[in-house]
């Protein structure tokens, strides 16, 4: 039930975001203040997700096998390894660390 509410609300919101320019604004630009906030949303939210995916737990910070995996993946991204291989490296290192933990 809740899952369907998430699917519906996120779906409708995204449809409206994508239609903003072509449908509602024509050729006009976003207001400058809105634009300066919107520009920052993607990096800020994505990085917050990196943090929760790496050390997030059930009401606590958890430092476990994800850390070496994310570190290895981050190193790969930094060395300009494409996204999919970098993800595979992170998953492999974490899976291995879990095996030996």
């Amino acid at each position: 039930m809740w899952v369907w509410i998430v699917v519906a609300v996120v779906g409708v919101a995204t449809v409206l975001f994508k239609a903003t320019g072509p449908l509602f604004l024509g050729g006009r630009a976003l207001p400058a203040r809105a634009q300066s906030i919107v520009d920052l949303l993607a990096p800020v939210m994505l990085t917050a997700l990196v943090v929760t995916q790496t050390v997030g737990g059930d009401g606590e910070l958890v430092f476990d096998a994800r850390i070496p995996g994310v570190a290895a993946g981050a190193l790969a991204v930094w060395r300009r390894v494409p996204i999919v291989p970098a993800m595979v490296i992170a998953a492999l290192v974490t899976a291995l660390a879990r095996q030996f933990a």
Binding site: G21, L41, A74, V84
Partner: protein, 246 residues
Amino acid sequence: MRPEAPLTATFMRRIVSVGRWYVRVVTSDARPAPRVRDGIRAAIPLAPGPFVFGLSFGVLAEAAGMNAVAAVAMSATTFAGSAQFAAVSVLDAGGTALAAILAAVFLNARYAAISVSVASIFPGGRLRRLVESQLIVDESWALSGRSGRFEWPILVGAGLLLYVLWVGSTALGTLVGGALDDPSSLGLDAAFAVLFLALAMPYLRGRRAVQATALGAAITLVLIPIVPAGVPIVAAAAACLLGLRR
């Protein structure tokens, strides 16, 4: 009487004509107008990425307790990887539906800005523009602007191919996810952390973006032990208010 003279003149004419040809080739106006087919072709080299992400979104959705139909419906309506992953990872961590919705909506707000940048290339009536604007994703948008100005056939062609891949691979992923005993042992959680990191990298140009991102990360770290799952990510969005500072 110098036999070279006419030769030199011919040579000069040749150079001029080559120069004109070069100018014609490099200025996009002389290029034949691209077709939707060209957009599909342009997106083929990118295809493995969305395919693997869609596959893993299906697996992750299954692991988060989202049923297969809902996962495919989300790919078909939202069609934006990072927001879908965000919503599912909040749900997977035990966060509320509201936190999942807010995290995804904040992430997709960037499409308002992206769609404004290509607003003028969409032809036709309101319904057609509404439908075709749904094919705007990061990749189709980036490809459509490669020639120096945004081109509708490229955006629509690339968007169509990516859409089919995304929805299809999500469906496949839910099947794979259902067959796996314990997807969490695979290290998918770390893989998604790296996906989010890689997606964030291109945005981290300029001091303002780095400051806001560091502040957002700090807010998240501090709040994880204090508030319910999902809330830290939503609260991190407050860091974007730095954008208002002059």
